[in-house]
Amino acid sequence: MAALRLFSICMTAGSVAAMFAFLPAPALSQDKEFHHVFDNSKLDVSAKPNEQFTEAVREFHRTGENPYSGKPEAIAEGKQLYGQFCQACHMPDGSGGMGASLIGDKHIYPRITTDKGWFEVVFGGASGAMQPFGLRMSQDQILKVMAYVRTLMKK
């Protein structure tokens, strides 16, 4: 009987955990605030209905630093995503074409020199074709793309 009750408690706890896994992750009070590059209005970085934050995203929200920087696996995935979403405008080497250059030290939005500011531009969008990629990619994917572009900057 006792074994059955324990099983039942475990099941309940598991169900509750599973249930929370699908709820949008609320922003924690110690998290950074993110702002749109145009008017500094606050960006909503809470998880989308079908998005589950990874530990990397949670850490990024806390620190504003991209945990994927320099991580080969994330960089490899970021390269794939860059090819899919970014390179037609920014060119394979990041030198820019239809879109702005991502390398060098001249930037339309100075804030992109920090991970946090850079994320704000990619996630929230800037203008025209630089759309809010938070509509198309998860925040985890955006961090991986950023990690890949960092490698272009260093070349």
């Binding site: 979403f85 037609a88 239809m98 879109g99 339309i108 203008s127 025209g128």
Partner: protein, 474 residues
């Protein structure tokens, strides 16, 4: 000459010296072409206010001018949605080209420049119910089709599938060589004729030389008369500039002037109103003056805006592919030398990197000019409003009487990818935006939904209105 005559002439001379500006003119030299950095008369403070959203790749917008205040938003997939005067979007499409053909959609949407682009309402729509659409056809391998449908007065907010199939009249079928540069907008001019913006047929660099080849409809603005019997698709207006240029005739070698010979153009398409265009996706008539503005999308370097006064007899050649705006094509450097072919634009703006390998601009650039309509409010007078597809910049282009030149001003920069525009029944500019840029396009119903916006004087924004996120240049 008497002293009195001398005085009179002196007075006339003085009057001329201080006379107001000369009439609005087309630039005669590249230096006269307006560029970003000017100030349009009125120098207005404007805002973009949301009208409605939730549209699948909205790429066109029109109004019926029937007094209902309805707005018709064109969805690339092949549907037209109705927005009521209360801003509510009717779920049932006004017109749906994806359902009329039992074998599948009527509309080819494989590439982002393909789809349904435009709907135009006959000037007597209220009486005859005629609407015209322009789209790339799936059954005709991407050819562009102009077709007429008739709205049922008993069901004014929906042309049902049965009604569409019963009433369809195909006006034009123009084969398309490549999957880009179709043009798009169709609109009735103040003369009651239907104008059709046709791109050069695509690829890049105009490999078919369509802009200059008068034997093709591609790379042109076309003008046709659709008020014909039902068994006649359309007729060529007698006053089209090349209406008779290809008429059969006896050959005379003598007694004909060189000017006379120059008017013989064998094989020329009589529907041509203007040539030398690359991709005139958007063009608009000014309701006030009847003047015509054409936003011709450029290639890698410059966007151009052309203007014709109401008095134009047509026949303008805007120079593509010899020129790109007021520059040479191919555009290689600021020092390029080449002849200017035909008529110069009134305004132009650069891409971020206007010359290969040149310094990248951080201000005042774009990549694709989408005309949105002519504004005559909020201090603006006959001002063409153009939104850019890449940079979200909104430009105003207007003749400045005081300065006696064209002016181009960046009115604001929005976060949007602008696609199209028109003026509503009250004359305000309407604009659409999508999330359908080339590299992110996932298909016409898979992309994030776009919106419909109204450009209003900032002083008319009231509490409760949702305004777009914009930056105003310093």
């Amino acid at each position: 000459m008497t002293g009195r005559q001398t005085l009179l002439l002196a007075a006339i001379g003085a009057t001329l010296a201080i006379a107001p500006a000369l009439a609005q003119t087309i630039p005669q030299t590249p230096a006269e072409v307006a560029r970003p950095g000017g100030t349009v008369p009125g120098n207005p403070k404007l805002a973009l206010v949301k009208v409605a959203d939730g549209f699948n790749d909205p790429v066109g917008v029109s109004v019926a001018n029937d007094g209902t205040g309805r707005i018709f938003v064109v969805e690339r997939v092949g549907r037209v949605k109705v927005v009521g005067s209360d801003g509510k979007v009717q779920q049932q499409p006004f017109l749906d080209l994806t359902k009329t053909n039992p074998l599948g959609s009527e509309v080819q949407t494989g590439f982002v420049e393909q789809g349904l682009w435009s709907i135009a309402f006959h000037p007597k729509f209220k009486e005859n119910g005629y609407v015209y659409v322009h789209y790339s056809s799936l059954p005709f391998n991407g050819a562009s089709i102009v077709a007429r449908y008739t709205a049922d007065k008993a069901n004014p907010n929906e042309i049902t599938k049965d009604q569409m199939n019963k009433s369809v009249k195909v006006i034009m079928n123009i084969p398309q060589p490549y999957y880009n540069h179709y043009g798009g907008r169709i609109a009735f001019g103040p003369d009651g004729m239907l104008y059709i913006g046709k791109g050069d047929g695509g690829w890049e660099g105009d490999p078919l030389d369509a802009g200059q080849n008068m034997n093709t409809h591609l790379g042109k603005l076309l003008r046709i008369n659709v008020d014909t019997p039902d068994n006649v698709p359309y007729s060529v207006p007698e006053d089209n500039p090349f209406a008779r240029a290809d008429y059969p005739r006896m050959m005379s070698l003598f007694g004909v002037t060189e000017e006379g010979f120059s008017k013989i153009k064998i094989g020329v398409k009589p529907e041509i109103w203007a040539s030398g265009l690359r991709n005139p996706y958007m063009f608009h008539f000014d309701a006030k003056s009847g003047d015509l503005f054409i936003a011709d999308v450029g290639q890698n370097s410059f966007e151009e805006i052309n203007w014709q006064p109401r008095s134009s007899k047509g026949g303008e050649n805007y120079g593509w592919k010899h020129n790109q705006a007021s520059h040479c094509h191919p555009t290689l450097s600021p020092n390029d030398k080449c002849p200017i072919v035909g008529v110069l634009p009134v305004a132009e703006y650069p891409h971020q990197e206007p010359y290969p390998g040149g310094q990248k601009l951080t201000e005042g650039w774009g990549c694709s000019a989408q005309g949105m309509g002519v504004a005559n409010y909020g201090g603006l007078d006959k001002t063409y409003i153009v939104g850019d597809w890449c940079s979200g910049r909104v430009w105003g282009i207007a003749w400045d009487k005081a300065a006696n030149k064209w002016q181009m001003q960046e009115l604001m920069q929005a976060t949007f990818q602008f696609t199209a525009g028109t003026t509503d029944e009250k004359g305000y500019i309407l604009a659409t935006n999508c999330f359908c840029f080339y590299t992110e396009d996932k298909g016409p119903i898979a992309n994030p939904p776009g919106g419909l916006w109204r450009l209003v004087p900032a002083s008319e924004v009231t509490a409760g209105m949702e305004t777009a996120r914009v930056k105003t240049p310093n």
